[in-house]
Subunit: 384 residues, 2 copies
């Protein structure tokens, strides 16, 4: 056998890790590490995030333009990674910073803390947020926990855990608020994906014939499951995109708003929203939806930010991020005109097989400017 | 965060799964599933292997040209995957075939067995070979267990387990023998890899400067670990190659020979061999070593094959396999001439972090035709 057969890697890359590992209703820590945390143990990956100027500027400005939140205060950094947020908090005047990191990246973070002369302020603690103990409650919890389309990775679970265990009643969350956005888009990718899927099936059919002719085994009973597997891969998996703003063809809408100070696990485990989006272009093709997020640094009601900061991952020419947007392509695309209105519901739940990945459902119809309404369409996707 | 940040995938792909998950001296089953087995649950991947004509022809011929090993006999197929070997054994006249598969691919295998009318002969059993129970001992154990350079994936462990638990004293192993080969090669890839590494470090140095200038954090303490990480990725990880036979510049040599009927875990956990290889080209560049394997189907001493079959993954123009060869590039390459002789030792052990991946060490010197001998060189690689 050869489980990384050349050419398979491309698909495996986006294939659902441990998809068939028998369900993860109960999260197995070792599997979670293999599937998820291990990535963060690579400096290469830390560098990718540290090179995201939009991300860095937002946190940097939020901290240093709101020093009153940090001076003489205790801070908890959830998932500190390289430790940069913790170091900034120390530089901004924090009395003590607890920097929790689940992976061995903690060792590099410790080096970096020493190298930047704040080891008397920053304690790097290796462990999962659910397990670690802190000697005191904290005034501020800071974390860069956002995954694709905000909730992928389910890392906010650990932030909630940290908040409920260690944040003082008067404490502040950095960021303090988060929103999930969707908008109808046009895209040329859909046709290619459909073609890729069709080619994969044509190739499969040749394979069926050859296996029958040369090796006397009829594989046709597997055609349906193979088609399902390929459909999921090519047509039902959201795509990372860095969209041009011109690709937005309708009004963006919010499907989730979160106050990080009060958000609950139940609230993020299932996202459900009705939506209405008006087409804003003269006429064109509705290829699918794009999803992104923004977070805000506003301090808390009792201690608002003196300088509010927004970090947005919306389509942008000059300020794109490593998060990009998640694109959900619809097959086939639909002709639309100005004042057509898309109406429907969006639902996002966690994948049964891997709680850090997401299953998404769109149900929508379009009210045409002509007056008629199309039949409702239901589409399923996974965010991997 | 975003653990599949665009652009990271390429590196992550070959990064050691769960490398930092804290060691796998004791194999965690869930992690092993996440890192390894899950791949085999995809029909796409099964198709890749089923489309390897050299692989398929070898097993097909071995079975159908040696029907006397199967007619009326009981067979165990270790890691049946799609079930094709089990079906062939049934078609060749087996009385009963136990087809063991650890992943949900077992459900597809069961469909395939029914679809090909041999469900009265083939029992598909989902479970790991270490755990399953069989109602009887078997006459033949067949398995396609070979990974890159034979032993990657450590799947032969399960074959040994199956053999010791369930093979009759007079039983036969399919395949019956295996060998690991190495040979000195020339390759243009080395320069590119070195360049990639140098570019990665140049990029890192800019990153260090920017992070210092824009964000007031000195990252230079991480330069050494980053360099180590990138070296491992670009220079110390073996590469999948499908070499042209002309790239072999010296005499191939065997570093491991295995009788599948008697091989022990200790024997495969550590491979150690001295080697001598003579340069066979007039003159040229010695870029590194290539490793491959072959297996043989010879039956057993008491019941030899009437038609011996060899499956080789050696460099070939017309008969390349999905296994290809593993290439270990040396930096810098070395000028060599006919009759120069490479002398050294090869050692392969299992990675501490993941028992299915391998650590490799070469120690060698070259005796030049001029008479002088170069200083010994030591190189480390991992097979991921």
């Amino acid at each position: 056998m050869s489980e990384t057969a050349n050419g398979f890697e491309e698909q495996q890359q986006r294939a659902l890790p441990a998809a068939r590992a028998g369900g993860a209703a109960v999260v197995d820590k070792a599997a979670d590490f293999a599937n998820y945390f291990c990535t963060y143990a690579y400096l290469y990956h830390q560098k990718e995030m540290l090179s995201d100027r939009v991300r860095m500027d937002a946190y940097y400005t939020a901290i240093f333009e709101n020093k009153h939140h940090f001076e003489g205060k205790t801070v908890l950094d959830v998932g500190t990674g390289s430790g940069i947020l913790a170091i900034w908090c120390a530089q901004a005047g924090a009395r003590k910073v607890y920097a929790v990191e689940a992976t061995k990246m903690s060792e590099h973070a410790r080096q970096l803390v020493i190298g930047n002369g704040v080891s008397h302020i920053v304690d790097v603690i290796e462990g999962s947020m659910e397990d670690v103990m802190l000697p005191e409650k904290v005034d501020v919890i800071i974390s860069e926990w956002m995954g694709y389309f905000l909730l992928r990775e389910s890392m906010f679970d650990s932030v909630i855990c940290a908040r409920d265990r260690f944040l003082k009643p008067t404490g502040i969350m950095y960021p303090s608020h988060a929103r999930m956005w969707l908008a109808p888009i046009r895209s040329g990718q859909g046709e290619q994906k459909l073609l890729d899927y069709e080619n994969a099936m044509a190739d499969w059919n040749n394979f069926i014939e050859d296996t029958n002719d040369f090796y006397g085994v009829d594989m046709s009973v597997l055609t349906q499951p193979y088609s399902g597997e390929q459909k999921k891969y090519y047509l039902q998996t959201s795509l990372w995109n860095n969209l041009h703003p011109h690709q937005l063809i309708g009004t963006p809408f919010i499907v989730k708003e979160m106050d990080c100070l009060t958000a609950t696990l139940d609230e993020i485990a299932i996202v459900h929203a009705n939506f209405t989006a008006s087409i804003t272009i003269e006429q064109g093709r509705f290829s699918g939806f794009a999803g992104w997020f923004d977070v805000h640094f506003r301090g808390s009601p009792s201690s608002p930010a003196s300088h509010e900061v927004e970090l947005t991952t919306a389509p942008s020419i000059d300020n794109s991020t490593h998060w990009g947007q998640q694109v959900f392509l619809l097959h086939p695309p639909m002709r639309v005109m100005r004042e057509d209105v898309l109406e429907g519901t969006f639902a996002m739940t966690r994948s049964k097989e891997n709680h850090r990945l997401m299953d998404v459902q769109f149900v929508y119809k379009s009210k045409l400017s002509s007056g008629e309404t199309t039949d409702p369409v239901t589409k399923y996707f996974c965010i991997e």
